[in-house]
Symmetry: none
Subunit: 403 residues, 2 copies
């Protein structure tokens, strides 16, 4: 469905919406016939909410598609993840909460180690620490000089950084310098089309790579940078405009705050613990109409491959769910941006359970928030991009379509 | 979802995929509340597989749409049947295993009977036998002469044939000569647009129709031909390219082998009995990574309107399902290309049951492979075109989408 249709139907209202994302909560059984992580976890609060809700299974992007964090969240925010793409470089900038300007070109950078011949010996520079990465970013940003361009270098985590080229007449149509393997020198960036902008940008990236070698020459394992995923800021119409909500993100991890900013959300800063997400929700409840609460740690336990730890985390989050002031909301969805089965240790394509609570929902007899129970729920199976219209509808923020 | 997205995500792998199509297996109860054919059949092997699988209901094309064999299979093969069309003439060519060249125009032909006034008295020429049809096709192909064009005439079944015009500067934009009713003469083909190619093709078809009257003048009931569905070979990107699989079709009926060839599958030839399909699967298991096994007879019993015979056939196929070497596969789907309820004696729009087995699937508690049980399964309801991405994902042949 075209966003212009929703935009025409959406109305301002003081009925509030909560989107609670349990990152990577969907899972798999360890043994055939056994429980998934959500099925194994004791979750009285989520179960009680499910019993009062319509439930279902959701493909965050589409059936079979393994969602990256960007597409998975765009879908949940109501943006078709096949239509709206966030390039790697733009995601890196979002991840460090760097607000790109429309003409900026963002790139994902790795600090790397090169030997005397110029060949890469370690694409991760011995996995330097984030604090060391920050020092090197600062040094690089100060020392590099490209004619007519500003170069901004922001640390991500460990050896990762975001690089922004700021200036006129740049293009994202350039190839990577990161060869994605050791044993060869960084590649030369080449223009991806015939435009003078692409040629100019490729040249700038190559000159930046050259200067970085000089600046970092004595910096031990981190004596080079490789760049990839040149991208502009994605052109996402803000949620305020499309969905007529006043949205806020309540999250602990930079990437999710960055993604939220890309669709126009304000962000509650300074949160570190999962518990603080629920406290902050109560604190800012009067100030917004759309609340995106993001819980990261469940996904991390799945990526660790630790079934038991993921179960425990789910149970801890369940205890915090009791703090949601349900009566303040017109509609609440609890779901995930993708599955992260601990048996697979990574994002997977399996659909995720979803519950949609509202005074206007049809309770469907599902009494447990897990994959098997929700498969029998009244929402059936649907795509992530279809969640937002249902939330808006249940919060009675959508007009009738057509006469 | 655009195939280009899947093409970017799909990866080569040695994990194998089996798509077992029980043609027309979906059905209806004879009496309200009674069992469908699949529910009436005793199917211990399919049920055991279902119990270890994720199950659901699938609309091969879209809800409410009665799938022809072409669109039904294209959907199963992962091609949007609304986007990729196989014209009637091209389907006829596929059905007789005639490999069209890109500039060919394919047409579906009926041998017909005309009276002295030229009016059609029987659009099916007294339903002549296939062997007689083959003789007449050969005679026609040898006798007809069109300037600058080659005319190929291939027998289908009974009174049906495929005609191909081969030459330069032809067009598929021409109207049918088949009036689809008796009592009138064959129609004149007319150009469907203003191009010289359409005019030339219409002229060629009319001249062919005229010459056929001469050639067939003494051939009893089959003394004329009517033509319809002018079409080029559909432009389907091969499965190897899009899905990165090495596919083979194991089928007994020409049309399904032809459809498989249109998407780039190799074909196991010489099979006649259903049993041989399962034997061939075991024989070629090491040579491919995607196996399309097609079982035709269940559909035929449905078209006969014989509920009991369809039940018996399903039970016979179930016994053969035990021969599937499950451990050789990364993912297995068992489903149908459409329903053929014996009460309706024809293809129907009812969604078909589907099971998806994989070491990475979520068993969902469904313990029987039939319409009612699968309706409660973890796959929910989805479209045929969404099956292939799920098979690829479960066989771990898809990369993550987006960062």
């Amino acid at each position: 469905m075209d966003l212009r249709i929703i935009q025409e139907l959406a109305e301002e209202s003081d009925r509030k919406i909560l989107l609670l994302v349990l990152d990577g909560a969907g899972g798999l059984a360890v043994e055939p016939g056994g429980p998934t992580e959500l099925e194994a976890a004791r979750t009285p609060n989520l179960d009680e909410l499910a019993a009062a809700s319509s439930c279902g299974l959701m493909d965050p992007v589409a059936p079979g598609i393994i969602p990256g964090s960007g597409p998975g969240h765009l879908g949940l925010f109501g943006y078709d993840p096949f239509r709206y793409l966030i390039g790697r470089g733009a995601l890196s900038c979002a991840g460090v909460n760097f607000l790109m300007e429309p003409e900026d070109i963002g790139l994902r950078a790795n600090f790397a180690t090169v030997d005397e011949s110029g060949a890469i010996t370690d694409r991760r520079a011995g996995r330097i620490e984030t604090s060391r990465c920050a020092e090197l970013c600062e040094k690089l940003e100060a020392a590099v000089a490209l004619e007519g361009l500003q170069v901004l270098v922001k640390p991500e985590k460990d050896y990762r950084a975001a690089v922004v080229l700021r200036g006129k007449e740049l293009s994202a149509a350039v190839t990577d310098t990161d060869p994605q393997r050791a044993g060869v020198p960084p590649l030369k960036a080449t223009p991806g089309d015939d435009s003078p902008e692409a040629a100019r940008t490729a040249e700038a990236i190559n000159e930046l790579t050259r200067q970085a070698l000089e600046v970092l020459a004595d910096e031990g394992p981190a004596n080079a940078i490789v760049l990839r995923g040149a991208a502009r800021k994605p052109d996402l119409p803000p949620m305020q405009e499309v969905f007529k909500v006043n949205p806020v993100a309540i999250a602990t991890y930079p990437m999710y705050k960055g993604l939220a900013r890309l669709v126009g959300m304000e962000v509650v800063e300074g949160l570190e613990q999962t518990e603080e997400v629920f406290d902050a929700l109560n604190k800012v409840i009067d100030d917004y109409t759309f609340f995106f609460c993001h819980i990261k740690e469940i996904d991390s336990r799945g990526e660790d491959g630790d079934f038991e730890a993921k179960v425990r985390l789910i149970e801890e989050v369940d205890a915090l769910v009791a703090r949601i002031p349900r009566e303040a909301f017109g509609a609440i969805a609890v779901t995930a941006d993708h599955s992260t089965p601990s048996t697979l240790r990574t994002h997977s394509w399996h659909p995720v359970p979803v519950l949609l609570w509202s005074p206007t929902c049809r309770a469907d007899g599902v009494e447990s928030f897990d994959e098997r129970a929700c498969a029998g729920g009244g929402l059936g199976r649907f795509r992530g991009v279809d969640l937002m219209p249902q939330l808006l509808a249940h919060a009675q923020r959508l007009k009738k379509y057509g006469a």
